[in-house]
């Protein structure tokens, strides 16, 4: 019997999976559930050409293997582009949309029924017929054989500091769409809560018409600067040693650091890591120094990042959830600074504004924020007891990861805000990214991808991760369609990392560092 696949979420991860399922035998129908147009989600649906990806064209592709599919898409539309480039995010949204339309046409020509149901999914539950029923907020219920949760990031984090003031006219709870920021008055003094990617987008858009922007976050630190994030031509990470790492070993941190440092050294022909980064404590000084290093080609650490991301995702996937949380928590600062570093173009804009005095980075969050007693705006009190008037506050502290909760009747509740996930328990997710039946522990035919896979995948805000996951799931389905067990591949001298397995001239699987087929 043909499968009916239900993809919950039509952002970039959903499209990546859709393109895989549309070419997987045995699927008779695909329904994509999303209230918004497919392909144009939160991250890439933004339309402002100022906002760039912080990943290069090379790894921002729905196909994780071979030449970047995004590169081909852009070349076909006349863009002078290189695989290293950080392109505006709207181009990736348009790319996802156009690829969805192309694959949809091909699927329909192949007899697959494709439907976009414009609603938000609220839960997934077992169906009497052995499948799963997805309940939607428009009252509809869809039943399918396989459900894929590609829930994206659409619920902004509102810092506790201002949570009580949501709805205040001088508070913007999320930076996107940025058109709302551009409409803020000229010469206004604006506090942006956050200092990472979303906050930097906000600062770049706001930094016109004489506005003054204050970035403020608990760390008070800006991300590092890079000129590219691409797949390495050859491996720089000692994968054999990496695979030997065990999280409960007392030597784990030391050994992991040693492997990372030697990977960076190999990427940079021996240049020491400290020579590639700045030790300055002031954010502006550190940004200036790291921008100089990036512009002069002295940041080879960036060429180890793609491999490190894949290695972290692959090696931590089998770990117990608590272990993964604990270990990765220790590296949160490093991950957010280097893995989520910013393009040189953004660094230049920030530095220009820091230098001209229209942008400042506060060392920490304010002590208190209260509405001004008379007139619009806010009174902001800092740790040094200084109080200043701020005209507007923008929350740009990132987005909540989607959260799943299992009820006793096996219903899975889908939440975009963890604060709403007050009932039920956290479901077990298998290393193969399937939600497990709480009674038997066996994987159900419900998968998680992209941001929703965070209980198993360490670094999910990265299209390449979703693309690798989608390829792996399609491979599972492919083997399932032929009633054959999913094969266990052992890494040998003849099957190497990044080797591909093909069927009908289509790449069906790639061998990862851990020997897993993805």
């Amino acid at each position: 019997m043909d499968k009916h696949a239900i993809i919950v979420g039509g952002g970039a991860s959903g499209v990546t999976l859709f393109t895989q399922l549309a070419t997987t035998p045995g699927i008779g129908a695909i329904t994509v559930v999303d209230p918004n147009p497919i392909g144009l989600g939160t991250a890439f649906g933004t339309t402002d050409p100022l906002l760039l990806c912080n990943t290069s064209v090379d790894v921002t592709s729905i196909d994780p293997t071979g030449e970047s599919d995004l590169l081909r898409y852009l070349a076909a539309r006349g863009w002078p582009v290189h695989r290293d480039h950080f392109v505006p995010r709207y181009l990736v949204g348009q790319y996802c949309r156009e690829r969805y339309l192309t694959y949809r046409r091909a699927a329909e020509q192949a007899g697959i029924r494709v439907r976009h149901h414009r609603a938000r999914a609220t839960s997934v539950g077992p169906d009497d017929g052995g499948g799963h029923t997805v309940t939607l907020d428009d009252g509809a219920r869809l039943t399918g054989t396989d459900v894929f949760l590609c829930l994206g990031l659409d619920q902004p984090v509102v810092p506790e500091l201002v949570r009580a003031h949501v709805g205040h006219p001088d508070l913007t709870a999320a930076p996107y769409p940025v058109g709302q920021l551009r409409r803020l008055p000229a010469r206004a003094r604006i506090l942006v809560l956050g200092s990472k990617l979303a906050a930097i987008d906000a600062a770049i858009v706001l930094g016109q018409r004489g506005r003054h922007v204050v970035l403020s976050s608990p760390s008070g630190q800006l991300p590092a600067v890079r000129t590219r994030l691409t797949r390495p031509a050859s491996s720089v990470l000692d994968l054999a040693s990496w695979r030997q790492l065990t999280p409960d070993s007392p030597d784990f941190d030391r050994e992991a650091a040693r492997l990372v440092v030697s990977a960076v050294a190999r990427a940079g022909s021996g240049a020491a890591l400290r020579a590639q980064t700045s030790g300055a404590t002031a954010p502006a000084d550190r940004l200036a120094e790291e921008l100089r290093l990036a512009e002069s080609g002295q940041v080879p650490w960036q060429d180890a990042i793609a491999e490190i991301i894949d290695a972290i995702n692959d090696s931590t996937a089998p770990w117990p959830a608590d272990t993964r949380r604990t270990v990765l928590g220790r590296y949160r600062h490093v991950i957010s600074r280097y893995i989520s570093s910013i393009p040189v173009r953004n660094a230049r804009l920030l530095l220009e504004r820091l230098t001209e005095g229209t942008l400042t980075v506060a060392p920490r969050l304010p002590e208190a924020v209260t509405p001004a007693e008379s007139g619009p705006g806010w009174l902001v009190r800092w740790a040094d007891d200084r109080t200043e008037h701020i005209d507007h506050i923008v929350c740009a502290a990132g987005y909540h990861k989607p959260t799943l909760r299992r009820l006793p009747d096996r219903t899975l509740l889908l939440h975009s805000d963890p604060a709403l996930a007050v009932t039920g328990t956290e479901p077990e997710i298998s290393p193969g990214l399937r939600v497990c039946d709480p009674r038997t522990g066996e994987p159900e035919r419900v998968w998680v991808l992209g941001a929703a896979s965070h209980p198993r995948a360490a670094i999910v805000n990265y299209l390449n991760t979703a693309a690798r996951q989608a390829t792996g799931i399609a491979t599972d389905l492919l083997w399932g369609a032929h009633d054959a067990p999913t094969p266990a591949i052992r890494v040998t001298d003849t099957i190497r990392v990044n080797d591909t397995i093909k069927a009908n001239n289509t790449v069906k699987a790639t061998v990862t560092a851990t020997g897993r087929l993805v």
Binding site: T47, Y90, Q94
Partner: protein, 409 residues
């Protein structure tokens, strides 16, 4: 022989469509449009100075129809067609087709819902009207103009008074002096354009567009229009309402361009213009979306009426969506370069750019719908992708990245 009255603005596109099909046309210009007459190299042109003389000449030519070829030609075409006994709109409603207040009265008389509207000639009348209405916001605009010229949204009596003073006794976009000023309840909702071509009082809906109108510095600014290839229930009701408006205003022959607001209380007329849509009608993007253009349908209606009549039995639909963007600058200045064109031309659905402003010239009409800063056309099967491309264009405009400008002296 067809008489095209004042073929300026998009009337030139209409004249071109007639010429393309080999039709014999006389281009009749009002004396106030002498420059356009002088620039017209067509074989048959004439200046209208005296009604009797014009009627004598036209009578000798035995024309098939007299057609208003722009907003400037509406009244004269009405009069000439009536005097020559040619099929045309109902003469009794001629004034209502050109005057926004009389237009509303004609609708009320026909039992068609209309926006609350009044006209005032001085500040005392304005104050009296606002006191009687006691409802804001109101739209203050010239009684007789076009292209959003002089339109101001007023949230209180003071703003309304300022808006009144800014336009009364001043010359408007049509070249006429604003003797009186229109005050209208401010309509909220989505504004639509419904273009039609009529034959013997039967109306063909040729195109339906949704408009994006932003309110910038208190003025409504039209950013783009995007066609609706299929109509939902509310839009179908809106189209039915427009056809009632056309009947109430005696529209019977040729093109009409109607703007209507879909308000929470239902559709409400903004205005009917008994001519082809302005201010730019490059025919190709419309053909790419609909398979015809407004002006080519007018030509078909007069040259091949049997063929045109077949369309009256067909459903309204289109293969693609077309969007027309009224490009604008976020600030005044002299144009140095159109940097954003490199991006615009690579967007999904890009079709063409019409009338890009001259390098070295100041940017004109930042708030008006004259197309003076250029008009971009996009055509695509996928409405969502088209809307995304439109979003990119508007972000380019609003961030100042479309035009590179030098400060004006």
């Amino acid at each position: 022989m067809f008489v095209l009255v004042n073929p300026v603005s998009t009337g030139k596109a209409l004249a071109e469509a007639f010429r393309e099909e080999g039709a014999d046309c006389l281009h009749l210009y009002d004396a106030s449009l002498r420059a356009a007459y002088d620039a017209d190299g067509s074989p048959h042109t004439m200046v209208h100075e005296d009604l009797a003389k014009t009627l004598e000449v036209l009578g000798g030519l035995r024309p098939t129809a007299v057609i208003a070829a722009s907003e400037y030609g509406v009244l004269l075409a009405d009069e000439l067609a009536t005097r020559l006994g040619l099929p045309h709109h109902r003469p009794e409603q001629a004034a209502a087709r050109r005057d926004k207040e009389l237009m509303v009265r004609a609708l009320e008389q026909a039992g068609v819902p209309a926006a609350r509207t009044g006209s005032v000639r001085d500040e005392a009348e304005l104050t009296d009207l606002l006191a009687r209405w006691d409802s804001y916001p109101v739209m203050v605009k010239p009684r007789d103009s076009a292209g959003s010229d002089g339109c101001t949204i007023s949230a209180d009596p003071e703003t309304a008074l300022t808006a009144f003073r800014a336009i009364v006794d001043r010359q408007n976009l049509m070249g006429e002096v604003n003797d009186d000023v229109l005050v209208q309840e401010f309509l909220t909702g989505t504004q639509y354009i419904v273009n039609t071509v009529s034959i013997d009082g039967r109306h063909l809906v040729s195109e339906v567009y949704a408009e994006r109108i932003d309110h910038i510095d208190g003025a409504p600014v039209l950013r783009h229009i995007i066609s609706r290839p299929q109509l939902d229930a509310a839009e179908a009701e809106l189209v039915g309402y427009v056809l009632d408006c056309l009947d109430a205003l005696g529209i019977r022959e040729g093109a009409a361009h109607t703007e209507v607001m879909l308000t929470p209380a239902g559709p409400r007329l903004v205005e009917v213009n008994s001519r082809v849509m302005g201010p730019s009608l490059a025919p190709d993007p419309y053909h790419a979306a609909f398979g015809y253009s407004h002006q080519h349908l007018v030509v078909e209606r007069f040259l091949r009426p049997e063929e045109f009549a077949l369309r009256l039995e067909l459903p309204y639909t289109a293969a693609r969506s077309v969007a027309k963007v009224f490009l604008r600058s976020d600030r005044p200045g002299k144009l140095l370069a159109v940097d954003g064109a490199r991006i615009l031309r690579r967007l999904p659905g890009f079709h063409s750019i019409d009338r890009l402003p001259e390098i070295g010239q100041p940017i004109l009409d930042r708030y008006l719908t004259t197309g003076a800063s250029g008009i971009a056309y996009l055509v695509h099967e996928d409405e969502h992708l088209l809307l995304n491309s439109l979003g990119v264009i508007h972000d380019l405009e609003d961030s100042g990245a479309l035009y590179r400008l030098a400060e004006q002296d």
